[in-house]
Symmetry: C2
Subunit: 191 residues, 2 copies
């Protein structure tokens, strides 16, 4: 089909690897790999961290459960779907998603579907982010934010999801990823 279709892509022989730093969210290492095209060594930096999850959380009334929070990377408030890291104590990505939804929003669901997973940035990160759909979400208590969080829960009609993206109210790449998985699966999901 395409010009490179089916042709073998050559792996890059790893020449050396070196731990550089541990920033809690990521351990950083430098790798020296040989470019199979040129035979020349080239340095790459790799950020190793936990896997992530996020949740398209819908109430029985057709509303999205969203969170507003201060994001320190950009230094501004964001509107996002709930999510976080798969911690050492989480037996699975699904368990992490259930926990994050409860902690960040106070909502719970007994109707979970895995929508898909991505590499947030395969060029420099090794981790995955898995998106879940939680339907029939109900509020079961107060949010339980950790010491690094200050959240506000916000409900929006699910039909507004596209508008939240096109107007720029939602700018987080992994939320767009979640919405994309959700749209692609919408027709095949049982109601």
């Amino acid at each position: 089909m395409g010009e490179g279709d089916g042709a073998p892509l050559r792996p890059w022989p790893l020449l050396s690897t070196e731990a550089l730093a541990d920033f809690v969210v990521f351990r950083v290492r430098r790798e020296l790999s040989e470019n199979p095209r040129t035979g020349e060594p080239h340095r790459f930096v790799v950020f190793e961290g936990s896997d992530w999850v996020n949740v398209v959380a819908l109430t029985g009334g057709g509303e999205l459960v969203l969170v507003r929070q201060w994001r320190h990377g950009t230094g501004e408030e964001t509107l996002e779907i709930p999510g976080g890291t798969v911690d050492a104590g989480d037996p699975s990505p699904l368990a992490a998603a259930v926990r994050e939804l409860r902690e960040e929003t106070g909502y719970a669901s007994d109707d979970w579907t895995e929508l898909g997973w991505v590499h947030p940035n395969p060029a420099i990160q090794s981790n995955r982010c898995t998106t879940f759909l939680a339907r029939g979400c109900v509020r079961v208590g107060d949010p339980e934010p950790d010491g690094g969080e200050d959240l506000l829960v916000e409900l929006r009609p699910a039909a507004e999801a596209a508008e939240l993206v096109t107007t720029g109210r939602i700018r987080h790449a992994l939320v767009l990823v979640a919405f994309h998985f959700w749209r692609l699966r919408e027709k095949t999901l049982t109601r």
Copy 2:
């Protein structure tokens, strides 16, 4: 509408900031900020880097121009749309997109539309990624990969984009972001 709708989200007072490292792709700094909910200081790590661009590149025949490459974060081959960083010499994100399309694929276009931009990870990164649509792409020469690249160009019917995602052939979060912008804008784009 939602429970937190319209309520002011409190900013986190910045208590201190400290440069930690420079990994070329990112400079890393540690910030100490006060949680406005608890009054307690909390440490955050921020990765500062260049802005990024990517391109949904379509030929006149309705094919997507894609690239296969080895990704060192995940240690495996990926299928992606063309893209890269906005370099110091690029006068704009659009100029970077035009350059990356040409360098990575050998294709060029004179019909460009900005589809939108995201924060790849507002929790820990300050940068943006802007997605462009380039229509009527034609091959004008050989790709011109840099020393850190070994690429294969692959053409796929644009109608297969959803399938490439649902089958897991495309796993790069920012490619799903680009496809999401593209789908949301499809109906309003002039043909």
